[in-house]
Amino acid sequence: MYQDVILDHYKNPHGRGLRDGQAEVHHVNPTCGDEITLRVRMDGTTIGDVSYEGQGCSISQASASVLNELLVGKDVSEAQKIQETFLELMQSRGRIEPDDAMEETLEDAVAFAGVSKYPARVKCALLSWMAWKDATAQALSGTAAPKESA
């Protein structure tokens, strides 16, 4: 499961740290205690920034890094499609062999295909993605109070 891509992201995470955003969420994986605090900044319908901080295993850390790399700068509708594809892959229990189209959509995130065979780790891989989905929904609905980095 530990693809080089995953280990690279784990050792050199993209976009780590909390920066300004319109919404902040805190998600926890109760089975292992992985935690993430994640903020989303929207520039219109474009994902302006996804900033995050947390503790967790290589899978959850690398997954947040990949998410940042993949989603920032994308239009929200496209980002949502990517999130859904990633979710589908991760819930496949190793049964989906990513095809070219999927690889194009997911880029580095396709490296997590192997993780989907390990149910206990799927939640790690999804932690940041679920947090992002939640935060984005809040940012878009305008219900969230803006968050600023200290």
Partner: protein, 425 residues
């Protein structure tokens, strides 16, 4: 009286019991030296097919690990098997969601779980001094005592439906029994003494009118008929593994998802939490919220195998088999002098559990003399003493059938009762 040989053997609707019985090792057992066991105590507990026993053995020999928290192979596999059993049970009762299936240790725990949730719930579910609980006079003690305890501890009023002379619920005063004050109506789908199948729809309709929750005790239904929690329209359904070919130590509570989300937990501990600090804790979503501690893992997996076995045969076929057998048994039992049925005398709306008295002969003596002939029946109150009080009898003898029971076993029972009469005559 001599056996009417094979009179019943050609009954339409019977399963191929010769094949089925090969799956049940205990049915080959000889008792009292040389008597072949005639097991007619299925309402107390069922026997287990080899398929279930093999599943249990395989679980322990290959996959045994604690569930949910492990990253190692065995933990992943054990978790997949345990959660796979939940999927099977959910499909078996047609639950809208697998997360609505809670594993308990037996039906009694399932029933107590609901009673306790309601005692600690917030409005609008909370049972307290100004509210009422409704049960019936034909409940198993496990569906009486939890409500008596809840009533004592909250001050709520416990009410119940009485019984008609022919062993059915007396619903003539349903509007007075189930009222605006009623928070919960809990009743048995199939009586473990009378065999009566109760009219769910009428009761659920009235409960919904007044906004009361409905809990159905399906302990004697799940093993014997198609159970569809959506069709029942109840809020909770409880049953028990050991009566439906599964291991002991496993029960089920099905509950509607919104309710399971809103209601408070019962037992606290590992597995049921989201996050714990010394100061406070939050709880995992259902079903885990209600499964504190290491669950009965092997037993759930074994119940999954039992459900597979039953599904492969088909619950409609199981019901047809038992219906044919019940009709035959009722026919033959009325031939026995001094035998008085306790419960409906016709096979309609009736399960394969038949209680009776035999003249003045005490059921203990009936059971003992039958046992000497290898025939296992149950005698006593069957954990439902109010029924005996209602009918003014000290106890009953109960014969109860299952998918492996045969007309020849009915014949053996009838012959056995004749011997009882001779002995004490």
């Amino acid at each position: 009286m001599t056996t009417t040989p094979s009179a019943g053997r050609a009954l339409p609707g019977l399963l191929d019991t010769e094949a089925i019985r090969k799956d049940f090792p205990v049915l080959d057992r000889l008792v009292h030296d040389d008597r072949r066991l005639v097991y007619l105590d299925n309402a107390a507990t069922s026997q287990k097919p080899r398929q279930v026993l093999d599943t249990l053995a395989e679980y322990y020999e290959r996959y045994n690990a604690n569930v949910h928290r492990g990253v190692h192979v065995l933990a992943e596999e054990a978790t997949a098997l345990y959660e796979g059993a939940r999927d099977k049970v959910a499909a078996f009762v047609n639950a809208p969601s697998r997360d609505e299936v809670i594993f308990t240790k037996n039906a009694s725990e399932s029933l107590n779980l609901v009673a306790n949730m309601l005692g600690w719930a917030d409005e609008p579910y909370r049972v307290d001094r100004d509210t009422e609980i409704v049960i019936t006079e034909m409940e198993h003690h496990s569906n009486i005592v939890p409500w008596q305890l809840l009533a004592q501890r909250t001050g709520a009023k416990l009410k119940w439906f009485g019984l008609t002379d022919d062993g059915r619920l007396d619903l003539s005063d349903i509007e007075q029994v189930i009222t605006e004050k009623t928070k919960i109506v809990s009743f048995v789908l199939v009586s473990n003494v009378l065999g009566t199948v109760n009219p769910v729809e009428q009761i659920v309709r009235r409960a919904q009118q007044v906004g009361a929750l409905v809990l159905i005790d399906a302990s004697q239904a799940a093993p014997h008929m198609v159970l569809d929690v959506q069709a029942l329209g109840a809020d909770f359904v409880a049953f028990t593994g050991h009566k439906m070919l599964g291991p002991t130590g496993i029960g089920v509570l099905w509950g509607r998802q919104e309710l399971l989300e809103d209601l408070p937990p019962f037992l606290g501990g590992g597995e049921m939490i989201e996050t714990v600090s010394m100061h406070s804790s939050t709880y995992a979503p259902a079903p885990h919220k209600f499964e504190a501690g290491t669950p009965p893992i092997a037993q759930a997996v074994g119940l999954g195998a039992a459900v597979d076995y039953l599904t492969a045969i088909g619950m409609d076929k199981v019901a047809a088999h038992e219906h044919a057998l019940t009709r035959y048994a009722l026919e033959r039992l009325v031939e026995v002098p001094d035998l008085r049925l306790v419960g409906p005398t016709a096979a309609e709306d009736r399960g394969a559990t038949i209680s009776f008295t035999l003249g003045d002969i005490h059921p203990h003596d009936v059971g003992q003399v039958l046992d000497e002939q290898g025939i296992a029946v149950r005698v006593g109150h069957h954990c439902a003493r109010p029924i005996c009080l209602r009918y003014g009898i000290p106890a009953t003898t109960r014969a109860s059938f299952y998918l492996y029971s045969t007309p020849a076993e009915v014949d053996a029972l009838v012959d056995g009762l004749e011997q009882v009469r001779n002995f004490f005559g």
